[in-house]
Symmetry: C2
Subunit: 349 residues, 2 copies
DNA sequence: TTGTAGGCGTTATCAA
DNA sequence: TTGATAACGCCTACAA
């Protein structure tokens, strides 16, 4: 407890500045906040000088007490997982800064309780906006509770947007998972592949389902039968790509291509293929997803689907910071094929 | 401006809770803050119930107004560059959460002015601690000004620590650049290499200098002459690794190994070597630095030097959050060799 | 055990 | 143009 200071001018607050400048609190405040209220040149300079010499830094807490919501965007990751998260965060920060907002970062690490804990913390901080980032598994109770919590926040003036996340009743900015997967599979099909193995991401996540639908659509548009036996669920890590590849080959020795829905899994496929003495793309064509850093350094360089990390971040921040998204909207950012060298026509035997 | 509400019980503040529970503000506050002050069971429950039904979330700004510094650590990156930053941020967050602190994130993007801008913002927010992360180029004026700014912050009760950053008069948590580089070069030397090319990071950064010293030390301990002609400055990106490799070969065709001080540059070396028709490690051994995601997926898998990203983050957060580091201290985290398959004995010609 | 009242640093209203 | 002064929401001596 700071010693009772009825004395105004010891701290480094506005009072101190005002006193040193020999003006009232109000005047000091006016010049320091750049208010439109006119202040005489003389006093203004005295205040500025006093502030400078006292190294005055306004107290944001005190300010927000009167002001209400703060220019802070709370970014809540359901789970920070590897991939291109760094670029994402950087883009988030850059965009927020553009508008003079600060970023507060939290990661629930996949833990629902923790997610609510952070939501509370953000509300306590009176952050002006909350961005829910990264897909979460589907769960009815959780969803309901989440929506309730968010609704309360919004009622008090907060803004909410979802980024790369589905099923939240607010504006969402999502990648075109359907289109991305579709173009990947069509690419394979157009090269002549028919027996295509698919290693998916976790099915509990909406994005994975969209990608699967996109893949199905591609088969459909090529009038090629879809074979569930050629689909295996992975967890996005390289090890599941490796196992997936092996299981796939044991089920379908005639397979000529694999579409792995993450670059890491694609790398797992590379490993398994090498272990089997298979050449990529000669014996097996491979396509990944995300266009992460590893894609271009694999050999052969991996053909993959781009992921609009930066666009997603920009869109989401812009929406809440510039207070667009008054209407609930859904913006889909395209994911395109990045053609490198891991696809070739199937070898004719 | 919220309509003048002399009426206490409309908002969702403490007053509303107190009123609904039929108790005083003080009582409500006491039970909601978990104060040690005893409150009768009856009133406590009424307050809890009221808070619950009103969906009361305390206003952190108001709290901090009386409390002073906040449990927020401001993380200021001089420049967020690729590498293992994501893990770093995640570790930062995890560790802060452990102690119940929040993370506020800022990235100066290499811009000095912006760094000061954020420092101010953090001070305005009354964050309890500031972590300066990531190396900054050396510049006298900048340093002086930075130190002044930080000193003022500390005087007001803030904590400052440097993470993977040098030359700031506070506790610092740094990787053992010297030792890491030394062990890399000694590894090469022990395998019989003598003509070793070195592609450094930017010399304006202290860490690069330490690595160069470590490399020199290795030569020294092997009684092998150091040749400045075999040292080239890069910028940590793959393209500079590529050019570096080419220039090195034109200067020293007898070179049998290259130590690139970042994995990305090592990849550039792989590219250049492949373009020359050289086999790695048969014709050229390569060692990188950082043990980033790409190192293990290159072919051959890259022998590299690990970087204590997570330890660094943990150490730094722990130091300020648990208020260790009352004394200025310097903690060096080891960097060790991660042996994979990019090094072999030089080919005897 | 409970309540009253003053203070935390700013902003904004209203007189002067 | 300037200056008192009342909020802002909460915490905590201090008094009851």
């Amino acid at each position: 407890m700071p010693a009772k200071r009825s004395n105004p001018a010891d701290g480094s607050g506005l009072a101190a500045v005002a006193q040193r400048a020999g003006v009232s609190l109000a005047t000091a405040s006016r010049v320091l906040t750049g208010s439109t209220h006119r202040v005489s040149r003389d006093l203004r300079e005295r205040v500025l000088h006093a502030a400078e010499s006292l190294d005055y830094v306004p107290n944001a807490s005190a300010r927000s007490l009167s002001a209400g919501m703060r220019k802070i965007v709370g970014v809540l990751f359901h789970d920070m997982v590897d991939g291109r998260g760094y670029e994402h965060i950087r883009a988030l920060e850059t965009e927020a800064d553009r508008a003079g907002w600060l970023i507060m970062l939290a990661n629930a690490g996949g833990d629902f309780e923790k997610e609510f804990h952070y939501l509370r913390a953000f509300r306590a901080e009176r952050v002006g906006a909350i961005i829910l980032s990264g897909s979460a598994p589907y769960d009815d109770d959780y969803r309901a509770r989440l929506n309730r919590e968010l609704a309360a926040y919004v009622k008090h003036g907060g803004r909410v947007v979802a980024c790369a996340r589905h099923g939240i009743p607010f504006s969402e900015f999502v990648p075109d998972n359907f289109g991305g997967a579709r173009s990947a599979v069509e690419h394979l099909l157009s090269r002549g592949h028919r027996r295509i193995g698919i290693i998916t991401g976790p099915r509990a996540i909406a994005g994975s389902l969209d990608r699967i639908d996109g893949a199905k659509k591609a088969f459909e548009s090529y009038d090629t039968p879809w074979d569930d036996a050629l689909v295996i669920e992975g967890d996005a890590q390289s090890s599941s790509g490796r196992c997936g590849c092996e299981r796939l080959f044991s089920r379908a020795p005639d397979m000529t291509a694999i579409f792995a829905m993450s670059d890491d899994m694609a790398f797992g496929v590379y490993e398994a293929a090498t272990a089997r003495g298979l050449q990529i793309p000669g014996d097996l064509s491979v396509i990944g997803y995300n266009d992460s850093a590893i894609a271009r350094v694999l050999s052969p360089p991996l053909t993959t689907v781009s992921y609009p990390t930066v666009e997603l971040a920009r869109g989401a921040v812009e929406a809440c910071v510039d207070d667009l998204a008054t209407e609930r909207m859904r913006v889909v950012f395209p994911s395109g094929l990045v053609i490198r060298e891991s696809v070739a026509p199937p070898r004719t035997r």
